[in-house]
Subunit: 246 residues, 2 copies
Amino acid sequence: MTYCVALRLDRGLIFMSDTRTNAGVDNVSATRKMKTWAVTGERFITVLSAGNLATTQAVMSLLDERSLAPAERDPSILQAPTMFQVARLVGQTLREVIADSAADNGQQADSTFSGTLILGGQIAGQEPRLFLIYPEGNFIEAVDEAPFVQIGETKYGRPILVRVFDPSMSFEEAVKLLYVSMDSTIKANLSVGPPLDLQIYESDTLDPPKARRIPGDDPTFRAISNGWGDALRQAFDVLPDVDLND
Amino acid sequence: MTYCVALRLDRGLIFMSDTRTNAGVDNVSATRKMKTWAVTGERFITVLSAGNLATTQAVMSLLDERSLAPAERDPSILQAPTMFQVARLVGQTLREVIADSAADNGQQADSTFSGTLILGGQIAGQEPRLFLIYPEGNFIEAVDEAPFVQIGETKYGRPILVRVFDPSMSFEEAVKLLYVSMDSTIKANLSVGPPLDLQIYESDTLDPPKARRIPGDDPTFRAISNGWGDALRQAFDVLPDVDLND
């Protein structure tokens, strides 16, 4: 499993992913699930991935090769005119890779080749946009009513997002929110684990944003993880009491 | 879907279940998922159910008939000498009902006949015990390290249980905790909904405990549901700040 989440804030986009990858519980490793393409001043694109690692790595490599090898630059996510077209290209690539792995080749093929992606980015002169791309290659966009997207193990970390997310948040607050959401998931699902990858994109900078890696023993992450239990208990205490005699 | 949860406290057992049942999103109804058998002064048994409603209702009816019809009273959950034996009987009944529905009868049979149960209770002279019973009829018991059990849509409501549960809680606090856990689930999954059923069993009373039904507009439940968002935001604010310049 995996947990990746991205928020659409008034001031930009923010992405976080865990790094744990596993084939069974006895084959555990760490891998980066976040990849960025950028042309300074022109466009910024980040993709987060969950699902079969062979599938998602193949998708990333294909997107990479198409964006790097001049002869194959058409279609390229670095040339697509809008983020919608980028999403179509990424979705199509995902769908092709899954179909290719699952094609009848004398071996048993099943749904374990599946994958899901988060795509976010901005192209000069256009708004930043954020998408959730399904294995079938189609996708939905984060909108005002649903301004964040999650893939992988999404449930444990969702209630806090639903309750606390506010599009006017600062980046610092948003990182804190993602830490709490990620921590709730890590505490509940062994297949989600640190270090965490974080990327913050400020709207209209069109600059490859600094990618950060947060180790599991990062002091702030640890303080938030440890503090959240106490904070929750305090929050719980201020709730109205239940009267069992009524 | 469904959400049922039970806690093993120092002072007794506490059970909560939602009542929504649905076959698709266009066929929604309400049903009680909690059933109690009791012989005052001798034993108290409560079962909560999630999964296929035909399966779980059949299980309840079979347990009922076996406990009511004198000729069929052996084996009966009212005669089993220990809670462990009660769990075996309940598990066996569940497994039989699923196998019966899934047996080849010329129709297509699949896993939708499945069901999962929570069983809790006490027999005179023994400790109260709490079990989670799987479709295969086997089961696990709530222990000190894992003192609560959940079935159905378990993920959204789990982080708050993990963080706040304390076996020394009062029943009032425990009900508040279950309200919050249930509310997080109801907010996230349409197939979980009020009214809620609640049962509180105080250890060694061996008395059929009062079953309560909490309507969706219960003032305390509403106050806790509404207050939890604010309380969470306050809890969030007291967490250490993130410094993005380090």
